[in-house]
């Protein structure tokens, strides 16, 4: 299966590295920025495509790692050209745009995988399996945390282009809550007061379920440079699972903390279980064998709708009914 990447920013590089490690056939890439494209193709020894049209002619599978505002156009064109699509999260900037992508997938008969990578982090997967196995009893309260430093200059900082922090970042944990508990009945969120001239943002969202289960999701672009913390806490009536990135990893390093941070921070996973590798391996395997994806396009759309509800509630201060 010949794979082409469109968009060679942070996520394009992360996916390309994962493809290389799993031995997938990444044949080339396209990006409107010629310097970034040249650097990328040199690094991964793949072909530069002169246009998106050329990419669509040369590959079987399109991996869209372009900025969120370009998702709809790129994904729909690939699907209409008869290609399967791996699409970086979030699905789209708004629900209508997301639905158009899903409709294009249905109409083309091609397959769409939205890369909700948190479901492939070993600790999140293990905790979800534990919950699903019934060993925790009925999970009643879920706590999730994902807070890091604000993104550097670029499109992430512009809510018109990235959807803003809830849509770009909190969507990971909102998707995970849906994976564990299903769709909530209502959402309430509070966000930090704005800081002049800064993109600092911190949001806490409480999700309420009709049967009394509940979750709190904390997300933020709010820490000082270099810090990225995530945590999960699943409390059931028969057991409890906790994990926090504050726990030491299998391999620890101590380097100066004042070095410049990468453009977008990525959490460290286990050494041999890179979640991006697991995610893309799963997607390729499901495509090759015609098996279902662990994340359906409908899941990606529902997670986006939940993130938009969080954003709305944080803005208005009102409880949003979502069911």
């Amino acid at each position: 299966m010949r794979i082409g990447i469109v968009g060679v920013g942070t996520m394009g590089r992360v996916h390309a590295e994962a493809y290389r490690r799993i031995g997938a056939e990444l044949v080339g890439a396209y990006d409107p920025n010629p310097e970034k494209l040249a650097e990328f193709v040199a690094r991964f020894t793949v072909d530069p495509f002169r246009s998106y049209e050329e990419l669509l002619l040369r590959v079987d599978l399109v991996d869209v790692t372009a900025p969120t505002f370009a998702h709809e156009e790129l994904a729909v064109r690939a699907l209409e050209a008869g290609k399967d699509v791996i699409l970086e999260k979030p699905l789209a900037l708004d629900a209508a745009s997301g639905r158009r992508i899903l409709e294009a997938a249905r109409a083309s008969g091609r397959r769409l995988f939205v890369a909700m990578v948190v479901r492939f982090f070993p600790q999140y997967r293990r905790a979800a399996e534990l919950a699903r196995s019934g060993q925790l009893g009925r999970v009643g309260v879920v706590r999730l945390k994902r807070v890091l430093f604000p993104p550097g200059p670029g499109w992430y900082r512009d809510p018109e282009k990235s959807g803003g922090m809830p849509v770009d970042l909190m969507i990971h944990d909102l998707d995970y809550v849906r994976w564990l508990l299903g769709d909530p009945a209502r959402v309430f969120a509070r966000r930090s007061p704005p800081v002049e001239g800064e993109v600092l943002e911190h949001v806490q969202a409480v999700l309420g379920y009709a049967d009394g289960r509940m979750a709190i999701v904390e997300g933020g672009w709010a820490y000082p440079s270099g810090y990225f913390r995530t945590a999960l806490d699943l409390a059931g009536d028969r057991g409890l699972a906790e994990w926090s990135s504050d726990q030491p990893p299998p391999l620890g390093t101590l380097f100066p903390k004042d070095e410049p941070a990468p453009e977008v921070g990525l959490p460290m996973a286990g050494l041999e279980e890179d979640p991006y590798e697991l995610e893309l391996r799963h997607a390729l395997e499901a495509l090759e064998r015609g098996k279902p994806f662990d994340v359906t396009p409908e899941d990606a759309l529902a997670a986006l709708e939940l993130a938009l509800a969080v954003r709305d509630s944080a803005r208005t201060g009102r409880v949003v009914e979502v069911a």
């Binding site: 009643g140 706590r143 509070r190 600092l200 943002e201 911190h202 806490d233 409390a235 409880v319």
Partner: protein, 332 residues
């Protein structure tokens, strides 16, 4: 100074006896409890004089009393105690209804004694340091506060904690007040609004809530959460924890008030693995401050008003959870 303990219904009474005995010049004259089983048990366990009735204890004219009854009985015992001229340290939450709290205030003022609300976490050195950092502006503008006060279900130690008539509710009334008080104390503002999800996902045998997630808006615009859930299993390495993260423009503060612990394993116990704390007990600092204020005739470091405002946050949370809408504690 002679101190009596009114009721051993609350778990904390046991610790308080030991805290008081470490303070020089303090004599614990005994405790009153109308439950004979409890009276005999704790009298024996702590070598304490047991009074059958609260009136009997108060007839000994203690300088001060600690009210550690069930939440709903605080008012009755506080009214009795202040009429006898005793200063009062009252367990949290100070009451289960605002009218009881207001009646307690009137009785205290009429008697001319002092009243302190038992909020021990203000006396945690880590909390005091966090407050000082915020006050100095070390974090810059505060963006958000994340608070967690989890515990096991306390009913296995004392059943009344999970009885609505005596406790006023479950996990939410039990835990919310600690963090609500710390937020008020650290930032020096009231809670403007509360939105909450409250339910009982953990224990079908009780008729109270075992989980509560609250999102507050403080008067200074800072959003702050409280997880008040009884979500830790009985085998958890400690009763629970009190954690708070203050996310600021310049930096973030991560507080885990009971983080200093040994890892201890014991054979044949339900809590086979335990986190055994080695930092100073905040209750000790709280009781020393209470004794000092009574001795010196100075206002108590935690007031009736502090207890009342924290109670209003709790009541706002319950109302919000019923209505699925934000509620202002000031309206209650």
């Amino acid at each position: 100074m002679r101190i009596g303990i009114l009721s051993f219904a609350h778990l904390h009474a046991e610790g308080y006896v030991q805290n008081l005995r470490r303070i020089s010049g303090v004599e614990v004259i005994g405790f009153s409890d109308t439950d004979p089983e409890r009276g005999r048990r704790f009298s024996q366990a702590y070598g304490l004089r047991w009074f059958w009735t609260h009136e009997d204890l108060l007839a000994e004219h203690p300088d001060a009393v600690i009210v550690t009854s069930e939440n709903a009985r605080h008012r009755e015992l506080v009214e009795l105690a202040v009429r006898s001229g005793a200063h009062v340290l009252c367990e949290k939450p100070i009451a289960t209804r605002t009218e009881d709290a207001l009646a307690m205030k009137a009785a205290v003022e009429a008697a001319g004694v002092s009243f302190m609300t038992a909020f021990p976490m203000r006396f945690s050195p880590a909390v005091e340091a966090a407050r000082a950092m915020v006050a100095e502006g070390a974090l810059g503008r505060v963006l958000a506060v994340v608070g967690v006060n989890h515990s096991e279900n306390p009913k296995r130690h004392r059943a009344w904690f999970a009885e609505k008539a005596l406790a006023g509710g479950g996990a939410t009334i039990d835990h919310t007040v600690h963090l609500a008080d710390l937020y008020r104390w650290i930032f020096g503002v009231e809670v403007a609004e509360v939105t909450a999800e409250i339910s009982n996902p953990f224990d079908p045998e009780v008729d109270v809530d075992t989980a509560g997630l609250l999102l507050l808006k403080l008067e200074n615009g800072v959003p702050a959460s409280i997880d008040a859930s009884w979500s830790r299993p009985p085998s958890y390495p400690r009763w629970g924890h009190l954690k708070m993260e203050i996310v600021g423009e310049k930096g973030t503060l991560v507080l885990d008030a009971f983080a200093g612990h040994l890892h201890v394993w014991r054979r044949g116990q339900e809590r086979a693995y335990e986190w055994l704390g080695f930092h100073p007990d905040p209750n000790q600092g709280m009781l020393e401050a209470f004794v000092d204020s009574v001795r010196n005739g100075t206002p108590p470091p935690v007031s009736w008003r502090d207890g009342y405002e924290a109670l209003r946050v709790v009541l706002a949370a319950y109302r919000s959870a019923e209505r699925h809408a934000p509620v202002a504690p000031g309206d209650l």
